[in-house]
Symmetry: C2
Subunit: 584 residues, 2 copies
């Protein structure tokens, strides 16, 4: 398996080479905040661009950008204000607060993921039965409570205008769904995507890039007609296999995945929506592009009580990491019509779409006929608001209310059959109005960054090589003069600027011995090093060195641009770059 201590080795490398480090170090650091360094930003940016190309551009999604801050009403509607909470436990003696499941985890000898699944009651029982004490002072722990893990703020100068930093990018895509839908000329299915920052006010984050209070999410909401849920692109992924741990397996106590093709998965009904399965298969391929092999990936189905409040079926895509074991890097949820329906209820705006039938139909339908005079007599100034709410209500719901309890509740008012009549009628319908259903693939960018680095990290003869996929490498070519004399630097700088003009990500380095520069380049994951030596001055050829094998070839300047480009794209082998030379 993976070598011991990769996590620690990567932290070292990260600080040395500018991949990442804890934020605000000069002030002692703040848990859950990390800076991404110069090398790390380039890699993260390349991962984002790869995601953008793979999902947004190739799947024809609509990318938007919505704010991190949202007013309270948005998260009331989305259910986050009620549900986005973590179990917290406080020490009676020192007052320190901890994530209850983290405290319990070690004592019960279970994984972090298993601990996350415990209920408040189970946590309380574990703490009292195992006599778990405060890890800081040994004091007695209080009863666990739920802590809202959204960052709260106020918007503008009024303290009552409460806002929260979004814990997912999704809500901005739901609240603006109708606008994008109309700009895209009202067709389903439609995917709306976002790459942006989110914030989660974790109680006690540890684990570096794996558990951050602020991170970049890459996610999309894919809206489809629940009566036409088929995915026409399925044949492209039918034979892709996924390592799946299904709900039935887990309920039987197994966490061993079974390997099934997408075709089998759908035939067995293991994934409820074709689009969900399609995007899971793409997610596997996307991670492979990052250098994370299929056998180090798996999809684990969430049990009903583990699922987010909006999810009817959910899978976590997990990657095996040296220190943390299986870690979620993306979530795939079938959100149904939950979010749009809730926003429709809370905002009073119609979030439904209209779909014309191929030919108009006669339908038996219920409609509501509001008795405005009566409504006015009963509710005076509130009547217009009540009427507007009634107009968007489902007649079936009203009918059921009248039948079951004799009234319905609208904005706190009791509406009786005398206020609104339910009419059965046959009428011609040109189409239907409905709330689209949604599947959501959502990727954590920093976790993918970390996983990419861990899978690229290798050692050879006691030295570190960051074997990043060539097309993701933060720097593509390093340019080195062999020595800093005899105009080698000038020539090397000229080549550096030429490669820069050609659009390559390139670095120039003349510091220290050539050997040390190779070491540095390998640690930074630079696939190619171009060395300019005396022969360059004579015949215009340069040495290209391969990061992974340390082999070298000699290539003519004129041929370099085109060959390097094809090599980085994976369309040329290293040997095809030039004439092999013996190592000096």
């Amino acid at each position: 398996m993976v070598a011991e201590g990769k996590y620690e080795k990567l932290q070292d490398l990260a600080k040395r080479r500018g991949l990442f480090w804890g934020s605000y170090e000069i002030y002692g650091g703040v848990g859950g905040f990390m800076d991404i360094g110069p090398l790390g930003v380039k890699l993260k940016h390349n991962i984002e661009e790869a995601w953008r190309d793979f999902f947004i551009r190739r799947q024809g999604l609509f990318e938007i950008e919505t704010p991190m801050t949202a007013p309270k009403c948005v998260f009331e509607a989305s259910g986050h204000l009620e549900s986005f909470k973590d179990p917290m436990v406080q020490c009676k003696a020192c007052g320190r607060r901890f994530r209850a499941d983290h405290i319990v985890k070690e004592s019960l000898e279970i994984t972090g993921t298993e601990a996350e699944r415990l209920s408040l009651q189970e946590l309380e029982r574990a703490i009292s039965e195992r006599k778990i004490a405060c890890p800081e002072c040994g004091g007695e722990l209080m009863k666990p409570t739920l802590f809202l893990t959204m960052f709260q703020t106020t918007i503008g100068p009024y303290s009552e205008a409460i806002g929260y930093l979004r814990p997912e990018a999704a809500q901005g895509m739901f609240t603006s769904f109708k606008r994008v839908y109309e700009q895209a000329r009202g067709k389903l299915p439609i995917g709306i995507a976002q790459i942006g920052r989110v914030a989660r006010n974790e109680i006690s984050p540890r684990q570096g890039l794996i558990r951050l209070r602020e991170f970049t999410i890459m996610e999309f909401e894919f809206f489809f007609d629940p009566e036409d849920p088929s995915c026409p692109f399925l044949p492209e992924v039918y034979d892709e296999t996924l390592n799946l741990i299904t709900e039935p397996l887990r309920l039987k106590g197994s966490e061993e995945p079974i390997e099934l093709s997408v075709r089998e998965i759908l035939e067995k009904g293991l994934v409820k929506v074709e689009w969900l399965a399609y995007f899971m298969a793409l997610a596997k391929r996307f991670l492979s592009k990052l250098g994370i092999p299929g056998e180090s990936q798996r999809f684990i189905e969430k049990l009903p009580w583990e699922r987010a409040h909006y999810s009817a079926q959910g899978f976590d895509q997990e990657v095996y990491l040296d220190r943390f074991g299986w870690v979620e890097v993306s979530g795939h949820n079938y959100r149904t019509d939950y979010d749009l329906r809730r926003h429709m209820e809370f905002s009073g705006q119609d979030m439904r779409v209209f779909k014309a039938y191929e030919r108009p139909k006669m339908v038996d339908a219920l409609t509501l006929k509001i008795d405005k005079a009566n409504l006015g007599r009963s509710f005076k100034g509130h009547a217009p608001l009540i009427a507007s709410k009634l107009e968007t209500m489902d007649p079936e719901v009203v009918k059921r209310g009248f039948e079951e309890v004799g009234y319905i509740d609208v904005e706190g008012f009791r509406i009786l059959p005398e206020h609104v009549q339910i009419i059965h009628e046959s009428r011609v319908e040109g189409g239907r109005r409905f709330i689209p259903h949604v599947v959501e693939p959502s990727f954590g960018c920093e976790r993918l960054l970390y996983a990419t680095l861990e899978y690229a990290y290798t050692e050879r003869e006691g030295r570190v090589i960051l074997r990043l996929p060539k097309d993701l490498a933060p720097i593509e070519i390093a340019v080195f003069p062999l020595m800093t004399k005899d105009s080698l630097c000038e020539r090397a700088q000229k080549i550096y600027h030429w490669l820069l003009e050609k659009g390559f990500r390139v670095e120039y380095d003349e510091t220290g011995s050539i050997g040390r520069r190779y070491v540095r380049a390998d640690e930074m994951g630079i696939p190619l090093a171009a060395t300019i030596d005396y022969q360059t001055l004579e015949d215009g050829t340069v040495t290209l060195r391969d990061r992974d094998t340390w082999r070298q070839v000699r290539v003519r300047m004129e041929a370099m641009e085109d060959r390097i480009r094809r090599y980085l794209e994976g369309n040329l082998s290293f040997e095809e770059l030039g004439r092999p030379i013996e190592k000096s």
Copy 2:
């Protein structure tokens, strides 16, 4: 000049074509928050990439990414907690709060920028003298006060752990300066850049994309040795001219810019630091790339009382906009050693860099010799902390303290000459330690997005054309089948997928008449439309149509990729794309 009502026309276009709109519209909107739509995101992304290429890649800056949230101590050190405030006035009657300068602006008939420059006292006087009342209810206004315009939150589960959303990206680059400096192997000058989100809790934002509570900043801190402040790249911009409104001009009451070359500006000493002038010249060129001509740009020097608290000299780069007049799109400040010095003082960490002399020097110097035994007797357990603080202190400061008041204060303890001896000595010094100085160019991305759109907005024969620079266009080519029959769609889709594979930003559209699709493409700023017609089926040629002139040429499929690429890069004229055809 510019046509009437461009702002309103752009708002219309923006909603129709997916450029931008107010966030959370279904809940009535929240001032200061805008969504960027699918077309807008692509354009914004292209502007960011252009900036990244122009400044970061070509100037060799180090891009990092630091969190939006920072703990209170960071903004105490940076001075923002004290200074990042706007004047606010509240109505006695209705309790509503307004930005005091906005309220005063209309009554005094001055520009927004002029009003921003008024002091609290001047605002109070204006309100009372002009009897300015509440614009909402007509009630009496209270005395203006200062309102902290940073969003406040708490980090983690303790209410005392206060944090703020950053109003600029700069502080993350200062607090991590030493880390990046070391990774870049300790050489000056060095630039650290960041493209990221910032938040400003404006009191009453209006003006759409121009005044946002959350926006993207593109900025860099350029660190240099104040004893070696020269910029070697100046010759590249010597002859670039800037429209400059200097402090002396403004003090004489003129806001008319003078046009001067960078050479003249530096010879006259109008800009204090060469690097500042260099980056201002680059900023002008960058805006030109966005389609904003030089004559619509100017640089206005901040008067001493207008400057940010950290700035020793500052220029706003302004662009003329139809509705708002001259609007700041970037700020160029000489921040001296202010920020690093403050972080050094507040964190106790050494933020200085070391620079070796060419040859070691004999210097007379003061050093501190701590009497640890005595320190221990006086301060017991506190002694180690005090000793560590003393070690980083400037001996000159200690000496002055002892001379002037007889003691110095360290962490609240009174340190006497018996605790620390000041020694005069001659010694060999290999180099000097100093705090680098900083110039900062800082660009508001959404304002540039808006300005780019306004300068691209044109009308022709009553129709809208978004004449975006070709290399910035959100979509580069639209592919249209002439009609939706006779396999034209299949052929067009094939060409669409082929262009997509080749990496172009491309859109396929078969909806409505070809004329309406051209209208739509022009409004979306798509430079080329490729129409697939019956002749395509016969001879494999397609029609390419130019957005700006509506001219058309016929081109063979095989030649398309290369020619289109060169055309979009600006290396081929439209006529060179193919054989001109008459308009049908």
